[in-house]
Structures are given as C-alpha cells and as structure tokens.
Amino acid sequence: MSKSNVMKPVEILLIEDNPGDVRLTKEALKKSKIKINLNVVRDGVKAMDYLCKHGKYKSKPKPNLILLDLNLPKKDGREVLADIKDSDSLKMIPIVILTTSLAENDILSSYNQHANCYINKPVELNKFFKVIRSIELFWFGIVKLPPNRLISK
C-alpha cells in the first residue's frame, strides 16, 4: 500500500482553444474543496508536447485527468485522443471529451478510440459550471484514478 502524501494536488490537463471556456473552467474549479492544478494547452500539438515532456514542458507532471476538446487548431482533438490512447505510457490517463459537438459519429468514434467519457459542453453558464462540478465530484470523489506512483515515469 503506498503511503498517502499530505494531499498532493490533482493535476488536470485542459486541452482547449477557446479562452472563454478556459476561463469558465478555471472559475468552476476554484470552488473545489480538493487541491487542483489546472494546466492548459491551446492546441493539439502543444498537448502532445506537454504529455511527452518536450521542451518547456519537460518538468510538467503527468496529468491525473485530461479534459479534451475535439475541435482544436494545429492537431485535431480526435487525433490527440488516438495518439494518447495508443501510447503505452499515456493510455491509462482518463480522458473526458468536453466538446460542443453532438454529432453521433464523434460520440461513437470517441468511445471506440477509448475516450473514458463524452460530455457535450453546455452553452449556458450555470449548466457549464454544473458539468465541471459533476466531473470533479465523480472523477476525484468517487473514482479511483491510476496511481501517480506507477504512472509518473
């Protein structure tokens, strides 16, 4: 059994290009009772650089959870999902797709590509907050995440 550290912060990687949505997510997570570090990248190329610890990201911690928008510049979120879930060192990280797309093809292909869950981004502010809060309560309160000790290599 691993010793429990004085609560290490949970690391979230938010892959999102819309500045408004980034800000809302930050706001929503501020209310959390647990300590959360929100790391943000704004396109798919930076997302992979972050996860592979390239360049300026070399000391960044591996995330405990990824929030991934599908429509991203430079490298599409669908490709990012595939790259992560095909990688032996990254595939265990839970990925929550958080996107405006309601297209059945997107939902189906995301699950086929092993996205952990797919959530449609609400347009309405209070609903958006509620969704972020639900993600936080479920993934950090109910679920057991892959152990840091074993994934942070």
């Binding site: 265990m92 839970p94 059945e104 699950y111 092993h114 952990n116 639900s134 479920f138 109910i142 995440l145």
Partner: protein, 150 residues
C-alpha cells in the same frame, strides 16, 4: 444507429456474483431519476454470452453501460474487460469497474485495458448506495452515451 434519447430507458448490464451487492445495486438504481433496466449475470462466461446474444440471451437488449466486478467465477472480470474492449462492436460500451480491490496494480492494469473508470466498492451499505447513485447520475445525466450502432 440511434443516440440515447432523453426519455428512453438506459440498459445496464451488471456483471456481479455477490447476491448482496446485486440487491444493493438494484435498490440504488430504483431511486434514479433516469429510467433504467438492470440486467444481471453472475459470471464472466455469462457476461460474454449476454453480449453475444447467445441462447437464452438472444432477445436481451444491448447494454448502454456495463458495471463489472473483477473477481468473478469461471471467467475473471479482467479477461472480460479485455475481450470487450478489443471487440469491434462492444468496445464502445462504457465499463465501470466496481470491485472490492483497491490494489494499485489492478487499478493501473484496468485503465490500461481501457476500463472507463475504476471504483472500489464501499463496505458500508449507505456508501455503496451513494456510489451507485453517483454512477447513475454521472453516466445517465451528464455523459453522452454511445449510440448502439445496431
């Protein structure tokens, strides 16, 4: 192919051999605001037969969500997970691991096999019910489930 519409019944497959836990799960889901149907099998072989619509399962509905215990008779839950997540038609189905194990190696391995999430079964009855309600609330009201593609 149809997306789960608001108002239609969510089909759950519970793969669980402990009758007490089955009963608690039934109780917890009864109180859900979302209409759901709980289908239960009690070992790993029956789980695959259910999904493949073999024999007595030929008219059973395709599950929208699977709740899977790891320690099962006849065919272990870890094998069931692997088979489902490698199967072209079944891999889309979200699998919630609900097990007594808290072993880090189990947690890591099941995520690597593409379990959608891993939950350790609480020992306390009230906590157990709370956890099942949280699963139902998150997966049926917040998340978009995959279309069943049939």
């Amino acid at each position: 192919m149809s997306v789960k519409n608001i108002g239609s019944t969510v089909e759950i497959l519970l793969v669980e051999d402990n009758p007490g836990d089955v009963r608690l799960t039934i109780e917890a889901l009864k109180e859900s605001k979302i209409l759901n149907n709980l289908n239960v099998v009690d070992d790993g072989i029956e789980a695959m037969a259910y999904l493949n619509k073999e024999g007595k399962y030929k008219d059973r509905p395709h599950p929208d969500l699977i709740i899977l215990d790891l320690n099962l008779p006849r065919k272990d839950g870890r094998e069931v997970l692997e088979e489902i997540k490698e199967h072209k038609n079944f891999k889309r189905i979200p699998i919630v691991i609900l097990t007594i194990s808290e072993a880090e190696e189990d947690i890591l391995k099941t995520y690597q096999l593409h379990a959608n999430c891993f939950i350790t079964k609480p020992v306390d009855i009230n906590q157990f019910i709370k956890v099942v309600k949280s699963v139902s609330n998150f997966w049926f009201s917040i998340v978009k489930l995959p279309p069943d593609g049939e």
